[in-house]
């Protein structure tokens, strides 16, 4: 029987990394990012990476790790405001940056995984985002065409996964992870908890195992960007 389970994040990436590769990394801010796989990707030494991720981590954490070592050549993101090293490299022209509206980015990734090479959206019509993109009218309104996105390796963070690769995500740590799982030529997942097949109710599996080629259980720091609380009355 084929085996999807790997012992370490490094082992889970073995043979998959190369210079010039494209990578997707799940997460919104620092919530639901594949921390251990990102660190393992850094340690792989792969250069000139195109990284597709909603954000770029913070200095020294998340994708910030790969920026520090200058392994990223290009980012495709919707918001990158929390990272000084990013800003420095970008302003110095050392880093390429493609902004996508967040919903367009999410849909492009879903489309890529779903075999849809292009779709039309109102988002960005009349803005710089529309520049150079094909447009089409539907019912008298103008829409722009966006393309599907896939990648060489998708790095995904899930809450629980079984040995067949079936996944469940926790709360808002779901975010971009499920779509990215569908859009990788190879999808590698790190989970808080690896469980036996049959542990999940099949009605409530967020990502079916078909999308997952490799899975590893790994402990996460789960850093929080902005702790906001209220006082008990």
């Amino acid at each position: 029987m084929s085996n999807k389970v790997y012992k370490t994040a490094a082992a889970a990436l073995e043979g998959l990394t190369f210079d010039g590769m494209s990578v997707m990394a799940g997460g919104f801010g620092l919530c639901g990012i594949p921390e251990n796989l990102i660190a393992a990707l850094r340690d792989s030494g792969a250069q000139n990476i195109t990284a597709i991720s909603n954000n770029a981590g913070v200095d020294g954490f998340g994708l910030g790790l790969l920026l520090e070592t200058r392994q990223i050549k290009k980012m495709v993101s919707s918001y990158v405001g929390e990272n000084k090293e990013f800003e420095r490299q970008y302003l110095a022209g050392e880093l390429d940056l493609e902004f996508n509206p967040q919903g367009t980015l999410a849909e492009r990734i879903r489309a890529g995984g779903a075999g849809i090479p292009g779709f039309y959206t109102k988002t960005g019509v009349g803005t710089v985002i529309a520049e150079g993109k094909p447009t089409r009218e539907f019912d008298g309104e103008s829409y722009i065409m966006e393309t599907g996105l896939t990648c060489d390796v998708a790095l995904v963070k899930a809450w629980r996964g079984d040995t067949q690769g079936n996944l469940q995500f926790k709360k808002t740590a779901r975010n971009f992870n499920p779509m990215m799982a569908t859009a990788g030529k190879v999808t590698v997942v790190e989970v808080d908890e690896l469980v036996e097949v049959g542990s999940f109710d099949p009605n409530y599996i967020h990502t079916p195992g078909i999308f997952v080629q490799r899975i590893v259980e790994a402990e996460c720091e789960k850093r929080i960007e902005k702790i906001t609380t209220r006082e008990r009355a």
Partner: protein, 211 residues
Amino acid sequence: MAWSRDDMARRAAQELKDGFYVNLGIGIPTLVANHIPEGVDVTLQSENGMLGMGPFPYPDEVDADLINAGKQTITELRRSSYFNSADSFAMIRGGHIDLSILGAMEVSENGDIANWMIPGKMVKGMGGAMDLVAGVKRCLVTMDHTNRAGASKFLKSCTLPLTGQNCIAMVITDLGVFEREPGRKFRVSELAPDVTLDEVKAKTEADLNWE
């Protein structure tokens, strides 16, 4: 006396109707949640994948896996649901959110909005703002009427790169409330206490319907 940030949020909250699904931007819009009128039940969407956003957690409830689109820790409610980012923006793009309240750097007289980028400064990205203004049924801006230099932010046309075109139905500033029907000019529908129409005219570059 011009409105305070809280006054503006309170006024914006009057646009919430019972049963509405609402997305609130960062800044003044966030304050709107503190002023929801009694008897009005609204569900807040957070575009990172949640409906039914609850208040900030007590210190012992903080959960790294539960944040809002501003990356702040939050809580869930009995009605809450989670979904992925593609589904979240399908909801937004598909016109299922009743109202979005956003901040803005500029609004133009034809309802364009600019709120994501100042050329020459470091660009942080538009996040979900372009999707919100393109998809939500009704978009409302809360902003100061003028910038720190005293120049109007309510313009004939935006000077900054647009977030969206012809998408803002109402602007609430410290000076008053400005509304428009699709294809029509904004008109002054309310003034802050002791603010005169002349003051508004003097501080507004946009060509409004002053009737």
